[in-house]
């Protein structure tokens, strides 16, 4: 199913979602809940914008010195007894994980909280060598059963309602389960408990990796990640190379921003920091611990002034929940592991080959809700424009559009040309205007007029009236009062201080 979706165009995938009433309803329901939660939690925090700026500064600083902090992390992790591996490409990471599994003669792997493993399509690879990979987050478990990709970076099964989930789980149970959240979660918990006990390897992602101690930190609500990291004898952590933060002090800021932005919680139910394998005095924990640090296109962003900030992302999902496009089409329409505004930018950015980019950067109205929601102020709405520009500049744009834009530039660049075009337009529109409106669905108006009517050009436009208006205004133009001038200067000064974003608005 996911492979099929991968081949379709963005528009086709979006259409599929738009026509799926259950999906749209489920996505709206949960994103609204999350976004309200975030709104309340950040308002209650009282100093949200200041902390956002703090978070942004920490991320900017870390990424600017990523080589240093990454080295420090690796040194400390190794000193703690962790085996650290580097994977340049996705395939490399997969090969490393398979190698560990084979060496351990593993039959089952229990997994939790790893978008990176989704990015690598690791489950599939493990299955091919006969290793069963079991997702243990409730949402991940559900989409694994359904054979789908996650449709949200925090709530992978956001597109399913509880009746659909009950149907899926009933199949596994061999009996009809009630569509009640407690019943369903209870069933999964029981089912997974057996798997935890028999698993040879536990595999997780990582929310933050602390350079000063070599620890990796996980935020979760279900307690399963803690099971995954303590029960099996071998533990593998997959982490994107940008997950680093310098110290536990910085974690305080991140722990303030992440749960509030993701779900509106002050803190998740569990927050675990894992520093190396089990020591003799420890009651539990893995005997062997591996960390695979994955690049897979991330380092391409380093030194790119337009996209480096992408590496600041803490994968909270707030931009998805705020996005009015995501709200209507859900995650699968984005066609890759990462969906929503962050996915629309990250997916192409990780892939340097512009010719392979699909149209996803066009599936945005550039409303800026993502930027406003982002706890580390990543200017995604601007990055979407950079993506569009790069596509055109490398000759991968659409010819019709380029011609259209050239025409538009010619018209708006010359007052006379504009005037002439409007005059022609006024005559031409007589063919289609009825009662001041244009309703035809022919030609370029098809898309617009399938949902709207188009207003006709007015008989007298502002341009026609301007000459007279200008004369009237000029006739009695008073000197600007000094206090007014002062206010204007003050406003201009304030404008400079946006903080975040590249646009300088």
């Amino acid at each position: 199913m996911s492979a099929q979706k991968g081949r379709a165009t963005v528009k086709e995938r979006a259409e599929l979602a738009l026509n799926d009433e259950f999906l749209v309803k489920a996505v709206k329901f949960t994103t609204e809940r999350l976004r309200n939660g975030k709104k309340n939690a950040s308002a209650e925090h009282g100093n949200w914008d200041e902390w956002r700026e703090r978070g942004r500064q920490i991320r900017l600083h870390t990424i600017a010195h990523l080589d240093y902090y990454l080295n420090l992390f690796v040194e400390n992790a190794r000193a703690n007894g962790v085996h650290v591996h580097f994977a340049d490409k996705g395939e490399d990471a997969v090969a490393i994980a398979m190698d560990i599994a084979q060496r351990k003669a593993a039959k089952t792997v229990v997994k939790s909280k790893s978008m990176v493993s989704e990015e690598l399509h690791l489950n599939h690879a493990l299955e091919q060598i006969g290793v069963e990979a079991i997702e243990t987050d409730l949402g991940e478990y559900i989409i694994q059963l359904a054979g789908e990709m996650p449709s949200h970076i925090v709530i992978p099964a956001i597109h399913k309602n509880r009746y659909q989930i009950a149907d899926l789980l009933s199949e596994v149970a061999g009996e009809k389960l009630e569509a009640d959240t407690t019943v369903l979660a209870g069933f999964v918990r029981k089912k997974l408990r057996e798997k935890f006990l028999e698993a040879d390897i536990g595999m997780t992602g990582c929310n933050f990796a602390i350079a000063e101690t070599g620890s990796m930190v996980l935020f979760e609500n279900e307690g399963n990640a803690r099971m995954v990291t303590t029960v099996p004898k071998t533990q593998i952590t997959l982490m994107g190379m940008e997950r680093i933060i310098p110290s536990f002090e910085d974690l305080e800021v991140m722990a303030t921003l992440l749960p509030r932005s993701a779900t509106g919680q002050k803190l998740t139910m569990y927050m675990s920091a894992i520093t190396g394998p089990k020591r003799t005095a420890d009651a539990d924990g893995p005997e062997e611990m591996h960390i695979i640090i994955v690049d897979n296109g991330r380092s391409l962003q380093l030194g790119d002034p337009e996209f480096q900030e992408l590496l600041n992302c803490i994968r909270c999902g707030a931009c998805l929940n705020a996005c009015p496009v995501y709200r209507h089409i859900g995650g699968h329409a984005y066609g890759s592991t990462y969906s929503g505004p962050i996915g629309a930018v990250l997916t192409p950015a990780l892939n340097k080959n512009v010719a392979e980019w699909d149209d996803i950067a066009n599936a945005s109205s550039l409303c800026g809700a993502c930027y406003e929601a982002c706890p580390v102020k990543i200017p995604l709405h601007e990055m979407l424009i950079y993506l569009r520009r790069r596509k055109v500049e490398t000759g991968n744009g659409k010819a019709v559009e380029t011609a259209g834009m050239k025409g538009f530039a010619a018209l708006t660049g010359s007052s006379a040309a504009m005037k002439a075009a409007l005059a022609i337009g006024k005559i031409g529109q007589r063919l289609v205007v009825r009662g001041g409106e244009i309703r035809t669905k022919l030609g370029p108006l098809k898309g617009w007029n399938s949902y709207r009517v188009t207003p006709s050009l007015p008989r007298r436009s502002f341009r026609d009236r301007w000459e007279k208006l200008n004369r009237e205004v000029d006739a009695d133009r008073p000197q600007m009062a000094p206090d007014m001038k002062r206010r204007m200067e003050q406003i201009v000064k304030e404008r400079g201080k946006g903080g975040g974003g590249h646009g300088g608005h």
């Binding site: 979006a14 066009n362 207003p455």
Partner: protein
């Protein structure tokens, strides 16, 4: 948009200076009235039920937040009803409305659902593109809600139009 011009001329100091001068003297309508002229009451009266769509670029990029409310709250007889999900984009987005017509259509349809929920007689906004978009869907659905720029409300309410 004018506030983005300097970005386009970054490599051309002469044009950059011109673009910055243009930016510095360009204001959004309500910001100019309220913050520069210091006017919040134009003496208008507009006895209608009104709701307001805060456009994305106005609020998020230009920082227009309280100014329109300050002006509307001083219009006599104006009954203000808040728009549910007001901050959600109306779906215009320039070429987006044409290229991704179905997504944009779903967005504007939902916006109009929310406008209808308020039972307002007039929808007010500050961005002509959003207003054209929303009005287009309202007319398409045969709805009678008037769609006006706040300047039109003030002008009509003060007997200027």
């Amino acid at each position: 948009m004018i506030h983005h011009y300097p970005k386009l001329f970054e490599s051309d100091p002469v044009q950059l200076a011109r673009a910055e001068r243009l930016r510095d003297k360009s204001y959004e309508f309500t910001q100019f009235l309220v913050n520069v002229l210091g006017v919040t009451d134009v003496g208008a009266s507009f006895p209608h039920k009104v709701t307001y769509h805060p456009s994305c670029h106005g609020t998020r990029l230009l920082g227009v937040k309280n100014e329109p409310m300050a002006l509307m709250s001083n219009v006599r007889g104006l009954e203000f009803v808040p728009l549910p999900f007001a901050e959600d984009c109306c779906g215009f987005g320039g070429t987006f409305a044409v290229k991704m017509a179905d997504i944009s259509g779903a967005m504007v349809s939902e916006k109009v659902d929310h406008v209808k929920e308020t039972e307002a007689e007039v929808l007010v906004g500050l961005d002509m593109a959003c207003l054209m978009n929303i009005a287009g869907n309202l007319r398409y659905r045969g709805e009678q809600v008037r769609v006006m720029h706040l300047a039109e409300v003030l002008a009509e309410g003060a007997g200027l139009a």
